[in-house]
Subunit: 262 residues, 3 copies
Amino acid sequence: MSLITLLTDFGTKGGYPGIMKGVMLGINESAHIVDITHEIPPFDCIAAAFVLYSAYCFFPPGTIHVIVVDPGVGSEREVIAVKTPKYIFLAPDNGVLSLILNDEPDALAFRITRRELFLPEVSRTFHGRDIFAPIAAHLSKEATIEEIGEPFDAVRCDLIPRPQVLHKQIIGAVIYQDTFGNLITNIQESDLATAKITGNLFITINNTSICGLSSSYSSVPAGQPAALFSSAGFLEIACNQASAAEKLGAGNAASVYIYSKS
Amino acid sequence: MSLITLLTDFGTKGGYPGIMKGVMLGINESAHIVDITHEIPPFDCIAAAFVLYSAYCFFPPGTIHVIVVDPGVGSEREVIAVKTPKYIFLAPDNGVLSLILNDEPDALAFRITRRELFLPEVSRTFHGRDIFAPIAAHLSKEATIEEIGEPFDAVRCDLIPRPQVLHKQIIGAVIYQDTFGNLITNIQESDLATAKITGNLFITINNTSICGLSSSYSSVPAGQPAALFSSAGFLEIACNQASAAEKLGAGNAASVYIYSKS
Amino acid sequence: MSLITLLTDFGTKGGYPGIMKGVMLGINESAHIVDITHEIPPFDCIAAAFVLYSAYCFFPPGTIHVIVVDPGVGSEREVIAVKTPKYIFLAPDNGVLSLILNDEPDALAFRITRRELFLPEVSRTFHGRDIFAPIAAHLSKEATIEEIGEPFDAVRCDLIPRPQVLHKQIIGAVIYQDTFGNLITNIQESDLATAKITGNLFITINNTSICGLSSSYSSVPAGQPAALFSSAGFLEIACNQASAAEKLGAGNAASVYIYSKS
């Protein structure tokens, strides 16, 4: 199988993801292309990093993940390919791979240099079509990452702010708001251990206090807020059958505090 | 062919449908997955039941329809599989199959119990990924429904309110508002015969009266309301080239009255 | 390969594109279907014409492009198929192929007449499902365009207003606003030569003046407006990392003036 995923901020209105698929299928007609999302908020590399991190490992080994959230398109930023034991990632070098690289110590990075594999005419505005799509298609067919680039050791991997992990206290932030209004933070389960917060805890966000962790949305009454570790491993503030963003009046970058009760 | 359809309220923003596809393709690389929609309003099982009903029979025999609109995720609700002569449906047991079951007297229902076919770690928040996707992929490959579940005779099938069908009068309700603002009701063509409404009739909704049925949107002037039986067989209130929801100030649950003129 | 693209104004909420895919896969199980977009603003044939024009030529030869933006569904408008050296286009005859036909002098047009290839029951409201999907699937399999229609020489191709090209001056209009708020006009690069505008120029739109053309969004400071020829070859007014539509208070049909500086 030649599986390629797409994760962009193009939206689906203008046909841009479809155009990328046309280019890829023109190069490799047996490419199997899956959309992760095209609804990343425009230019929001942190959201892209988070959605990618929550999705990538559920695809079969050999999958090529293509990320085009690229505020610097047309500028001098590099296009990079990163190879891990199971996957290849193709992305602009803007930090969007930060969470992947934290988890993948054996990743190898390359900057893409084989211009003759790009579309013959490269625009300044749509590298998704002119560079990312043809490179991904060639990688899905026969080209190796070593053939299309040069080793690159300066990949940006500092995009996601880390929470402050103190003694029995953590200060984090909302990094992503999902479709349901759930607020995903930068706090991971391991941070609790580091802060020596075991058992009972309080979480506060924008004047709302939540006591303890829940195991599911439906373990609190409808409309009530709950804190739980999301399916991607990050602390998430949710409201059962309602939007936490609306109910709590909080969104991206809102501060989230965790205190140990004991 | 191993055709699987997806119908969820996940939206496409967070990558959840893509993740489900990754899981399925990891189990059955030749699965052919088609999105029906991921834009069901959050937790709106009635809308899901309606969209499923309008779509399912246009897919080839053997298709596996996967429905994940699941306000009770993480609670004790069952995950069920329903087998009809042509299709398999996989859904939470919350009534979302009500319209299907009304039409399919020979359907067999099972509750899913083969936990070793789920993803190794089952979250409390994302059964689409952890249960529905792997089960659908196994069903599309070789597993039979009998192997993955136990017969279940208590499937919820009472989700959609039925209209009141009286003598020469029907009192129904809007159950779904589509993309164009068309208002779809729970009144079916057979209800007219039952009410002995033949030929001329009046329809009223929120102080607007519509005289008679139209055969197409464009048979009334632009902007004017029309009543017609939709492509899914339900009475639909529409405005030619405009949103009936906006023009008539009506939406989900609005009452719709039909009176015989004669 | 049997590649079929879909471009509609159906949205993805109601499952209509999925239903079309079900119909197509029931006729040709090896059809490979790619969405260009389903988010054309309802009934906006000009936007559809533009998005199609910017996408079609990036697909491999042999692709069948299906366009269903069809305010006249259910009326007497024809369904047409247009054959160019590389592609087949299937669309209602409402001008949506105007830009294609301008560029393809050797196109052959047919009106679709083989009713026995439609779905057995043709509704008045959903020809995408009942006519376009089965015809596209048959074309992708073995049917030729000559077998399913009759030559038709009255195709509408005058939908897109042409700019006024004067001496050292062009008066054009915004024809499409993309996902990012970029404003795409009906002015093409060749119009500059015709107007004898070389080198330096001014562009004005809704009281904002832009001096000269840019080669990329990022060549102006963040938030500032730039004018550039888009990846589809039309003059585009954009703001670096912001919405030009919002910043300039301009949208569809806004006038755009180009003056020569010298």
